[in-house]
């Protein structure tokens, strides 16, 4: 169990022989990206917040924070999260209603005092904060819609008596603001809920802030995925990149092609039914998280071949089929007939504007061994350049998916092998070797990029490796202003070779939190000591 601030306080007092300084006596601190000293000595494990200030608990750090010494009290039995006057959203906005209940629980969860009652006459000295009013400024709040890459997540939070106000252009910003507000409320030594008067102006630095989960190497039960979405919301992540199928297993239960999971899943209970998928999408939506599914082809498709005959390329040896299969067969028309139907389904099941089409690590050896493929290569004039065959395939898929009005995300090889991409195709840079140069190339060619290369969280190592993820500066690549604008964000990847429900949560969190702040907060929020302080508090809170 993770104790509250009590642990850090006790230790600091223990070791330094100091009396703990209550937060109340700390003077105004204006935080504008916290420019601090450059030197970052290894923070001792126990020299934590002896004199904690409220911002020592915010994660990710907002763009602009001002807190005051004056504290307000919250009574669980009286405090309410409500729609404010002038908001375009009201009680019919299911997303906000759900959020109000959820954040009430997060703030007061373990408190027992729930029954409504008037403020006692002989109350504590601090004034009471009665409400947080949420005001959505957009004309049409869009409470039933899904978040998009272009959604606004900005918000303005004013905490002052008697009522705090959270203003946001869109509901997505309100969700972000509610998370921040919940991080401001703290408990004192006597169990009272307090919040410092504050003003916060916040918005994300990058619009695409994702976490990749791999449900093919190991099946992840629904509960794991939903718990992870909760954790993502605590860290203001807004994209779940669902790498749902791969070589090892095909857990996605397709409506048009039920055999894919019948034959390709690890077992009949280790699948995601359409209901499961809908649940994930809605659970994510209520947290302002987009779900981008990845159906990776033409490589990484061994499991597809179990339920779909004649999809994969038969490999040959000395003129005879060996019985094993390679990537998707790019020369048969049936392949594209299948993909047309399949992606029609995917386009309707997944509401996000984007679908990830994969395209990574295609092994050409099987293609090279297959006589029909060799024949096709000759006919097309590709010579011996199989990258051209791969691009031929990918271009067809891009066309298919475009025809369903979906944008596409691809892994970097698709770009590297010179396939003709659509102008709005997003390229995900994942190869660690000299990724800055790749970013320059991709953005220089006019494409949008998402960065994952330094954030492969499945590559565990001993010690505080969150620091190395935190210290990445995504825009550290040679390029013009225009180019830098094309880097729209990044994704922390947790590949599943060594991950399942028994270790997903402790492996991903709070390491992914480092990536979360890097993608949300200002570029000058880099001080590791300050981050350590806030991250340790945040981690305990997440538990």
């Amino acid at each position: 169990s993770c104790p509250t601030m009590g642990r850090a306080m006790g230790l600091a007092g223990l070791l330094l022989g100091l009396v703990v300084v209550p937060a109340v006596l700390v003077s105004t601190s204006l935080r504008h990206g916290t420019p601090r000293t450059e030197a970052e000595p290894e923070p001792s494990g126990w020299e934590l917040a002896a004199d904690a200030v409220p911002e020592d608990s915010l994660w990710p750090l907002p763009q602009w924070v001002r807190t005051y010494p004056r504290q307000l009290q919250l009574a669980p039995s009286r405090f309410q999260l409500v729609h404010g006057a002038g908001s375009s959203a009201g009680p019919s906005c299911g997303l906000l209603q759900d959020a109000f209940r959820r954040y009430y629980e997060y703030i007061f969860g373990h408190s027992r005092r729930r029954t409504w009652g008037r403020r006692p006459l002989a109350a504590r000295a601090e004034p009471e904060l009665f409400q947080l009013q949420v005001v959505i400024e957009a004309g049409d709040p869009g409470c039933d819609r899904h978040p998009q890459l272009t959604s606004s997540e900005a918000y303005h939070l004013t905490v002052t008596e008697p009522v705090a106000i959270l203003k946001a252009p869109e509901i997505w910003g309100a969700l972000r603001g509610l998370e921040t507000f919940s991080q401001l409320v703290h408990e004192d030594d006597y169990g009272s809920f307090l919040v410092n008067e504050s003003e916060i102006n916040d918005f994300p630095r990058f619009a695409h802030r994702g976490v990749l989960l791999d449900t093919s190497r190991h099946y992840l039960p629904l509960k794991s995925i939903l718990t992870n979405l909760d954790a993502m919301a605590f860290n203001k992540f807004n994209v779940l990149h669902w790498h749902i199928v791969d070589d090892q297993s095909f857990p996605y239960q397709s409506i048009y092609f039920p055999e894919l999971s019948d034959k390709g899943a690890y077992s009949s209970n280790l699948i995601y039914t359409p209901t499961d998928v809908r649940l994930v999408i809605e659970y994510a939506r209520l947290r302002g998280i987009r779900v981008i599914p990845e159906f990776d082809t033409p490589g990484h498709t061994q499991s597809w071949g179990k339920g779909q005959k004649d999809l994969l390329t038969p490999c040959y040896n000395g003129g005879q089929p060996t019985g094993s299969f390679g990537p998707v067969n790019p020369v048969w028309n049936t392949t594209y007939d299948f993909m047309t139907m399949f992606f029609k389904e995917i386009s309707s099941v997944f509401p996000d504007e984007f679908i990830h089409l994969g395209g990574d690590e295609v092994d050409f050896s099987c293609w090279k061994s297959n006589p029909e493929v060799k024949e096709f290569m000759k006919k097309q004039g590709f010579g011996t350049d199989y990258a051209k065959l791969e691009s031929y395939y990918v271009q067809n898929i891009l066309d298919i998916v475009s025809s369903y009005n979906k944008g596409q995300m691809v892994w970097q090889e698709v770009f590297d092998h010179k396939a003709q991409l659509k102008p709005d195709t997003i390229v995900q840079v994942w190869m660690a070797d000299n990724y800055a140069r790749e970013l320059s190339r991709v953005t220089g060619a006019g494409f949008t990029a998402v960065l994952s290369a330094p954030w492969y969280l499945d590559y565990i190592s001993y010690g505080q490796d969150w620091k190395k993820y935190y210290s990445v500066e995504p825009l550290n690549f040679p390029g013009s202003e225009e180019q830098k604008k094309r880097l729209i964000g990044g994704e922390a990847c947790l590949w599943g070779e060594f991950v399942d429900a028994t270790n997903l949560t402790p492996r991903l969190w709070p390491r992914a939190s480092a990536v979360g702040e890097r993608l949300w907060s200002s570029s000058n929020v880099t001080n590791l000591q300050d981050a350590y302080k806030r991250l340790t508090n945040h981690r305990c809170r997440m538990l």
Partner: protein, 392 residues
């Protein structure tokens, strides 16, 4: 169908036969854990010298039972003769860097039993916290635990661990590591730790246990008197690792002591001075002891039955250490290649598996002095949220 196995008459009993009585005793280093398991048509027999062997045999038996697609439980005819290669097969848990709730410890003991581990090395206190509730010195945990109400092991908790372990044939060896790794002892035992100096004045910071004052040895005697009674195993782990001499060097009284005793500038001799007295105290309490390798490396005078715990790993140097320790006639425990807290990507179990503890230069009599080893899960980055998947 043709190839279906024909089930024999169902087996209804596993007979367990133990030669030597002793159900209420504790396992020890000398316990016999051998067993024989015989499963044949009409009879299943598990026979062992002692109850400890019977426990090992039961675990094996449970691993032999399978279940087919119809849900039928079955077992193949089997003959097994089994005994451990090494008598000391341990696991170290660190409950000072992070407190581990009782449940986590008990769960770990269960999994240890599945894997035939037989020693729980409880590194119970250290610099960051002192969760052990001492009846003689209650202030130690009151002042030294992360939270004296919630992050402590009461006498009853400790008894629970010892009994839970015993029922699984697991010995509990407690480690009260001194003279270093004792910062958390300071607040509850004023005057125990060495005050560090900056120039002429105390800096307010403390170092290892103060080896030059009598009060230290009075304290240590009383504490280990209690610990010897609370923990029934013959052995105690006394630590003795990573003693930082800087604080001692800075303290004028200690410098004066060094001169008086003719120890020169060799603070290893001061460390030995302390350790020797500690070992005498613990011996007089009727306990044997295990110490980390520094105690051997620093030439402390040890009793011949001391067990040296080899932990330093640097390019397979530990094999040399094992050779040196055993050549000097001491028994050795190996942990160096098994620091499981040092995680890395991929199937790192393979490296741990490939270790051959006896792969060092030495005669058979030396090799016989290697009594086993311990997998260590230090707690700097481990608590109840990640202990189990990191360890198993």
């Amino acid at each position: 169908a043709e190839n279906e196995p024909s089930w024999e008459a169902p087996c209804t009993k596993l007979l367990v036969h133990v030669s030597t009585p002793g159900c209420d005793g504790f396992p020890s280093l000398d316990s016999n854990e051998s067993y024989k398991l015989s499963v044949s048509k009409g009879s299943m027999l598990l026979s062992a010298e002692t109850v400890w062997g019977a426990l090992r045999g039961l675990e094996t038996f449970s691993q032999l039972v399978g279940r087919d697609e119809n849900g039928t439980y079955y077992i193949n005819e089997t003959e097994i003769v089994d005994f451990p290669r090494f008598p000391h097969r341990g696991l170290l848990l660190d409950t000072s860097r992070h407190y581990l709730p009782l449940k986590a410890i008990l769960e770990t003991l269960d999994v240890m039993a599945y894997n035939k581990f037989n020693v729980f090395h409880w590194h119970i206190v250290d610099d960051p916290s002192f969760p052990y509730e001492s009846s003689t010195f209650p202030e130690l945990s009151k002042q030294g635990a992360f939270n004296a109400m919630t992050h402590v092991y009461t006498a009853s908790d400790v008894r629970s661990v010892i009994e839970y372990a015993r029922l699984r044939g697991i010995r509990v060896i407690a480690e009260f590591d001194t003279p270093g790794h004792t910062l958390s002892w300071g607040p509850g035992a004023p005057g125990l730790l060495t005050p560090c100096y900056i120039g002429e004045a105390p800096s307010g910071v403390y170092g290892p246990i103060n080896p030059i004052v009598n009060s230290t040895y009075q304290f240590v005697t009383s504490l280990f008197q209690e610990v010897s009674t609370v923990f029934p195993d013959f052995f105690l782990h006394l630590g003795g690792d990573e003693v930082d001499f800087t604080c001692w060097k800075s303290n004028p009284e200690i410098r004066a002591f060094m001169v008086k005793m003719g120890l020169g500038e060799d603070y290893k001799k001061l460390e030995s001075f302390y350790i020797q007295r500690l070992l005498d105290i613990v011996s007089s309490l009727g306990k044997g002891y295990i110490v980390w390798q520094e105690v051997f490396d620093n030439d402390v005078k040890l009793r011949p039955d001391t067990i040296i715990h080899v932990w330093k790993e640097n390019n397979l140097q530990y094999l040399n250490e094992m050779a040196n320790v055993t050549r000097s006639g001491y028994r050795a425990l190996l942990s160096a290649p098994w620091y499981l807290n040092r995680i890395s990507y991929g199937q790192d179990w393979i490296e741990a598996y490939k270790v051959e503890p006896l792969m060092f230069e030495g005669v058979p009599e030396q090799k016989a002095l290697v009594i086993g080893g311990e997998a260590c899960m230090w707690g700097e980055y481990v608590d109840v949220t990640n202990l189990t998947p990191r360890l198993w």
